[in-house]
């Protein structure tokens, strides 16, 4: 029983970061309308930035968080402007090929610059644990969960209270009306894409401590995010956290209870994606 609860706790703590990354993917998908296979590479960027700042100047990842958010926002904005905007009206397959190509290029670039080794950021508190009755909480996963949850709440306020947040939801729901109301959809797309990248970048910093930075770490999270977004339902931002929780819990359970579970964990996303898509197409019948 204790093992079971500890497993659930581990899953819950992971769900925050998953939701952060997947919210970004849901934004580029729902608001900009682009299937971005390179979404995880913004996460990779954040992870390596955190690694570099720590390795070169010993900068605490907590401080790198804001920097990575801003850097990923800028890179996301540039990506939108230079690559996405020209293909907004192109067929979906072309868009997907483009973002897939971008993902491959960025992964190879990271391979060239940093090699294939995984890089871990190890601040003094990395291995610290808190005990809660019979349970253990890693300080880093717990901190990352709180930070993610905080960011998600801020985001929620942004989408319900600010005009810009409302405009982002609006362009996702109707493409024609915003222009007639004086809202330049192009500008909204740019900011939404930047924000999507920034969320992944911030998550990347957390993962550089919880997990590692590597050329392929981003792609792993792209896949997980697709499973989460498929489960939440397209354009459903509120559903992202519960869906992230489902994936994270499923992974935690597999890792604890399936013999040799560690190896299977990274395939759980596929099971979730498969079940979500099958469930969706059944309901559509």
């Amino acid at each position: 029983m204790e093992l079971f609860l500890q497993t659930l706790l581990n899953g819950l703590l992971m769900a925050g970061v998953y939701a952060l990354v997947a919210t970004g993917l849901a934004l580029s998908l729902g608001v900009v309308g682009i299937v971005n296979f390179a979404h995880g590479e913004f996460l990779m960027l954040g992870a390596y930035l955190s690694y570099l700042l720590f390795a070169l100047w010993g900068l605490d990842p907590l401080l790198s968080l804001g920097l990575a958010f801003a850097a990923a926002f800028a890179v996301g904005g540039l990506t939108y402007y230079g690559l996405i905007r020209p293909v907004l009206k192109a067929p979906e397959l072309n868009q997907m090929l483009l973002t897939f190509g971008l993902s491959v290029i960025l992964q190879n670039l990271a391979l060239l610059l940093f090699g294939a080794d995984t890089r871990v950021v190890a601040p003094p508190y990395q291995a610290a644990t808190l005990t809660l009755g019979p349970f253990f909480l890693g300080a880093v996963p717990f901190g990352a969960f709180l930070l993610s949850a905080g960011l998600l709440l801020l985001l929620q306020a942004f989408f319900t209270r600010s005009r810009l947040g409302l405009a982002m939801r609006a362009v996702a729901q109707n493409r024609l009306a915003p222009g007639l109301l004086g809202i330049e959809a192009e500008g909204v797309y740019l900011l939404a894409f930047g924000l999507a990248a920034a969320l992944a970048g911030a998550a990347g910093v957390m993962l550089s401590v919880m997990l590692y930075a590597s050329p392929t770490v981003g792609f792993l999270f792209t896949l997980k995010s697709f499973a989460i977004v498929a489960l939440a339902g397209l354009g459903n931002l509120k559903g992202v956290f519960p869906a992230a929780l489902v994936l994270a819990l499923a992974e935690a359970l597999v890792s604890t209870y399936v013999p040799g579970g560690g190896g299977w964990v990274e395939a759980v996303f596929f099971l979730v994606l498969f079940l979500a898509l099958v469930g969706r197409s059944r309901r559509a019948l």
């Binding site: 729901q173 009306a177 915003p178 109301l181």
Partner: protein, 234 residues
């Protein structure tokens, strides 16, 4: 403010829809644009608000040529457009929809906008927290008009607001537009409900196959044999 359309021609792809249309809407005037299905009324409104590029001719707002301006820029110049099919944000509340109509104004004008819209359509005030997608057809139309009014337009284009409404609701909506015009806004009203439009309009145009074929006061048009036969079934 005054809207002038001069010798406008446009279409989709290679198919020309408008063939040299000219019309004018002055401040405080309710002008009806009548015509059968496919005459090109919606196309004209789309060209005026910048959703469609003119092939020839010009759209002027207070004498200023709007050529090359995006729909958003035109909206910011106080040109409002309630499009065909309402185009609401279905998963957002009434109030959020309205707020988006004021997105480019100084925040303090928002409150003034709500007051004006809720005074015009008290039903919207009762339903301010309801999702737009769950409103009745009439309420959705009121919301579409209210949302456009939140930007304090001085020229307002309205595309078939009575579509799908009961006669009583249609009248209510058209009377509300009349009140908007009385407040100084020039309203260009596209309608299929010819009898009702001629009751509220100050002037009217009749469009057939992309051309204006008749123009005049409602009295004159209601007396015209062509209008009586084709649109009033008299």
């Amino acid at each position: 403010m005054r809207l002038e359309v001069k010798d406008l021609a446009t279409g989709y792809g290679k198919a020309q829809v408008l063939f040299g249309v000219s019309l004018e809407v002055k401040e405080g005037e309710l002008v009806a644009l009548l015509g059968a299905n496919g005459a090109g009324k919606t196309t004209l409104l789309r060209a005026v608000s910048g959703l469609l590029r003119p092939w020839q001719g010009a759209v002027l707002l207070n004498g200023r040529d709007l050529k090359g301006l995006s729909p958003a820029r035109r909206a910011r110049l106080a040109l409002g457009h309630v499009p065909e099919g309402r185009q609401l944000f279905p998963l957002m509340t009434v109030e959020e929809n309205l707020r988006l109509g004021a997105a480019f104004l100084a925040p303090r004008r928002e409150k003034e906008g709500y007051e004006r819209v809720y005074a015009l359509f008290p039903r919207l005030a009762e339903r301010r927290r309801q999702l737009a997608g769950t409103l009745s057809g009439g309420e959705q139309q009121m919301l579409a008009i209210g949302r456009a009014l939140m930007g304090f337009p001085q020229i307002l284009l309205v595309d078939e607001p009575s579509l799908g409404l009961s006669p009583r609701l249609a009248e209510e909506v058209l009377l509300a537009l009349k009140e908007v015009a009385r407040g100084g806004v020039g309203v260009l009203l596209v309608e299929q409900n010819v009898a009702l439009s001629l009751e509220v309009a100050d002037r009217a145009y009749v469009m057939e196959q992309g051309r204006i074929v008749l123009e005049g006061s409602p009295q004159r048009l209601s007396a015209d044999p062509r209008v009586r036969e084709a649109y009033l079934s008299l």
